[in-house]
Assembly symmetry: C2
Homo-oligomer: 303 residues x 2
Amino acid sequence: MKWPDKVTIKEVGPRDGLQNEKEIVSAEEKIEWIDALSQTGLSYIEITSFVNPNWVPQLSDAEVVAKGIKRNPAVTYGALVPNMRGLETALEADIDEVSVFMSASETHNRKNINKSIDQTFPVLQETINGALAAGKSLRGYVSTIFGCPYEGKVPIEQVFMVCDRLFDMGIGELSLGDTTGIANPRQVEEVLDLALKRYDRNKIALHFHDTRGMAMANVLKALDYGITSFDSALGGIGGCPYAPGASGNVATDDLVYMLEDMGISTKINQAKLLDAAVRIQQSLGKKLPSHQMAVYSEQLKGV
Amino acid sequence: MKWPDKVTIKEVGPRDGLQNEKEIVSAEEKIEWIDALSQTGLSYIEITSFVNPNWVPQLSDAEVVAKGIKRNPAVTYGALVPNMRGLETALEADIDEVSVFMSASETHNRKNINKSIDQTFPVLQETINGALAAGKSLRGYVSTIFGCPYEGKVPIEQVFMVCDRLFDMGIGELSLGDTTGIANPRQVEEVLDLALKRYDRNKIALHFHDTRGMAMANVLKALDYGITSFDSALGGIGGCPYAPGASGNVATDDLVYMLEDMGISTKINQAKLLDAAVRIQQSLGKKLPSHQMAVYSEQLKGV
């Protein structure tokens, strides 16, 4: 199969990236950063999470951020929403797309959401129904597709049972999550061989973390299967709660660099992307782990 | 084509990695580190370079290091040799394999070796003849295969002209070098499509740097072509003289992790590899850029 001509990058830095960063970033800085992201050519930004602030203190300003940003009409602004309570706030803040999430692993789901998988379905169904009634599109994240920090390998039947249910409930896109960054290209092949027999390729996104340095190879393998939607976080911010010191999401700037260099269009301006990365680097007060930022930071020093 | 069942990793950290590190490492520390590498299961270690010490002060102790290490009979010990003078010292130190090097780009070759490509051939022929007469095997590095920092894209005919000459001179293995880490998987595909029509797959190694974060994806693409020999440097040491702040060679520990995780045998013990990496991390006094070392260093802190 030929590689796709164009790919959509879904920027999850303001949500998945930040929620794993210890240094608290102010709402004002987040807004300025997201406004910079909105000017890069990105067509999708997941800006925050409407979970209970006690769970994720970094994102306790969800409503302020969602209401404070300057909307670019060319960008879809998504947010993570765990339940009806979160949905009410998200709708008030006029989020464009609602993301729901759960885990394919029973133990990870319990640790993450404090519910069994069976207990999670009705909560998500209610949330999805509410979002659909409000005219919102829906995205579903399924975590630990390629392995769970508690259970190890997750049976593929279990993965598909959860994915089937989310599609049945009405999600438009399913993001297959390598939550702990342990997928290798052979696993990506095994999962996509089966998943693409079951689901429409255009409804599948891949969500890689770079914990073990395999994210870019996994992206390449997914491109071999014609996948055209990838989640990433600018600068590679975030990390892995199960592997302290590890890298976070695959870096948007690295991903865009590789895709554009391969002649695969992302419609993203790389110079603007690096400018936006410098903002969040300053807010976090640490060197971001992406390769493009390592090169760019040295270039800036030289100026 | 199916991925290979096993792959040979050629550790080039003590030469290609170190020569790009500013912090001078003592001969004693190098010897202890190479002795640790010799116990990891690696079958090939390039231990130094017998170039003029004025060119690469970091490796001015080549003879001391080569004579000081404990040889493991299961390991081939290679070294870079630029000319007859270097060869004499290398033979005195009883190096197992001799590596010669040149660039596919005229400008890069002149800047690196101070000779034109045409002027380089007779010097390498003399060195190769001398090494073959001494019963040594030969490896050839060709740099800037995928692009040159001075000339940009290097015509593939020019690349093959240089490679042809090296094979004609008697090298056993050719290492195709992405010297500045700018190759992308599409280029790897383009080069290997042509190269493997011309040369025996078993005589081709790939040598990637991770400047732009594409090295692991490039390795995967090369595996698609059945390549079974890769150069790498433990911990990802080194860097890129043309992109300060950038990563060095693809990291041996990251490469071995991915390959073994994919079920591709390297015969390398990953725990011993990380122990050896801790040594050089201490000598260099800085955090090594590999992903496995980021995770491992945090685990050590926790002890």
